[in-house]
């Protein structure tokens, strides 16, 4: 089944076209990465698909529900871990998780069960009573993703999930994302070539709001006639500029 479909999705801010006629289709359970340099249109695409920003034209569908007409239904199907860590800093890790459970209207038993499950999945046991604002960047990202998973979304948007993290924290987060693969459809935006290559089923490369290619990492390397994914990315993006 198709989890996400966009049809000519476009976003303009005045004379600037941030996303230009994006049409793509992502299967259920797929981990799809949007890759591109700054200003490529990745975050704007995520904002439209998560109903945070209305498209100028075109439409998108999450599990068949329109992002322009069925926004409340779409919101019940998705979760977002934004680019900046979005946690309540004065609250403890447990209180943050309880907060999001409450926002989704979970009753007590379901809340307790869900928190226990996520604490195990994200290995949050050692920091469960610590204030979120006192945690390292890596732990805050883990918590942020745990908060996104509480509502058992069918589609999870991870916007630059490892930006600014050290190598170990990034590797640990990759393990968590790998563990989620197949259970939930994941859309991941990233600057990091190796991250997209290591985690994704398919990768879309964007530049200036346009989707240049959409294929597996191997397919993209083959298309650019190189063994290096980074080199393939550079070749495709520079080629589009000419």
């Amino acid at each position: 089944m198709i989890a996400i479909k966009t049809e000519n999705l476009t976003k303009r801010y005045g004379s600037l076209t941030a996303v230009d006629g994006l049409s793509l289709s992502i299967d259920e359970g797929e981990l799809f990465s949007l890759l591109g340099v700054n200003g490529a249109g990745k975050t704007t695409t995520i904002k439209m698909l998560t109903c945070l920003s209305a498209p100028t034209s075109g439409d998108g569908y999450i599990m068949g529900k329109s992002i322009t007409r069925d926004t409340q239904k779409v919101k019940s199907l998705i979760a977002v871990s934004p680019q900046e860590t979005a946690v309540a800093k004065a609250l403890s890790v447990r209180e943050n998780l309880e907060f999001i459970c409450g926002v989704h209207g979970f009753e007590r038993a379901r809340r307790e069960h869900k928190i226990a499950e996520l604490v195990r999945l994200m290995s949050l046991e050692s920091i469960i009573e610590r204030k979120a604002g006192k945690l390292s960047g890596g732990w805050q990202r883990r918590l942020s993703i745990a908060m996104a998973l509480i509502s058992e979304p069918q589609v999870l948007f991870l916007d630059e999930p490892t930006l600014g993290l050290d190598v170990i924290a990034r590797s640990e987060l990759w393990d968590i994302i790998r563990a989620l693969k197949g259970k939930v459809t994941i859309i991941l935006t990233t600057h990091y070539m190796e991250e997209a290559e290591a985690l994704s089923d398919r990768i879309g490369i964007m530049r200036d709001g346009r989707l240049l290619v959409c294929d597996t990492a191997a397919g993209i390397r083959k298309m650019a006639n190189t063994d290096s994914f980074e080199q393939a990315f550079v070749t495709i993006v520079k080629g589009a500029a000419r």
Partner: protein
């Protein structure tokens, strides 16, 4: 339920910030003690406790504007609101969730202020409870201003506008620190056109038992409160849409 969860989170954020407690509760108390000490040495009718306490109680509410505006602007800048906008929380949940936790803080602040005033010689009477109850409509004005400024300013700007400008305007134009009759002229006209002096006068009327004098001041305050609330809601919804 969803709204109350959000309101509880906001209450925790406010109460766990030591600066909030220090300024919100401590500063008005320091002022009431200091001015009462001055009054003990150099008696001035303006600083008699029955006259002073209502002014301090209203002045303390300007910190409620600072709390709510700071919380909203921080949430906006930290992406937490962006995350919450993708949840089933509605616009009404957000507005009530930010506004409601401030009401008990405002009442608590009023209780503490009048409680200290009693220790300093304010006669105990049922009028104190009426004055505390009337803190609620006055707090709506200050909460609405918090929602308004939090929706359009970043947290640094909130510090300047709400922490410095509003607290000073609220103090100077309220008739708490000096008698507006002494200044007179345009200053007095401006003060009476704004809601702050009316907020203090309605508290003074309640505390003195002059209940008939409450309504005109209450209407003045509520007029401003409702106008500020409508503007605040519109601005909040606008920034929500912009997100």
């Amino acid at each position: 339920m969803k709204m109350l969860t959000f309101a509880l989170r906001n209450a925790r954020e406010i109460i766990r910030d030591p600066l909030n407690l220090g300024f919100g509760l401590g500063f008005p108390l320091v002022l009431i003690l200091l001015l009462s000490a001055i009054q003990a040495n150099v008696p001035v009718p303006l600083f008699e406790i029955a006259h002073l306490a209502p002014g301090i109680a209203v002045f303390g509410l300007s910190f409620m504007t600072l709390f709510s505006a700071t919380l909203i602007s921080r949430d906006r800048s930290s992406s937490l609101l962006q995350r919450l906008y993708t949840t089933p929380l509605t616009a009404v949940d957000f507005i009530l969730g930010y506004a409601l936790p401030i009401v008990p803080f405002s009442v608590a602040q009023g209780l503490i202020c009048y409680g200290v005033a009693v220790l300093l010689g304010l006669p105990v009477s049922v009028n104190i409870l009426v004055a505390v109850a009337l803190i609620i409509p006055v707090s709506v004005l200050y909460i609405a201003l918090g929602l308004l400024f939090g929706s359009i300013l970043n947290d640094k700007q909130v510090g300047g506008v709400c922490g410095a400008l509003l607290t000073n305007l609220s103090a100077w134009l309220s008739g708490t620190w000096f008698d507006l009759e002494l200044v007179g002229g345009v200053f007095k006209k401006i003060a009476h056109a704004l809601p702050f002096v009316h907020a203090v006068e309605l508290e003074r009327a309640a505390l003195s038992g002059a209940y008939a004098d409450i309504l005109p001041h209450l209407l003045w305050v509520m007029g401003y409160a409702l106008t500020a609330l409508v503007i605040a809601v519109l601005l909040f919804l606008r920034q929500m849409k912009k997100q």
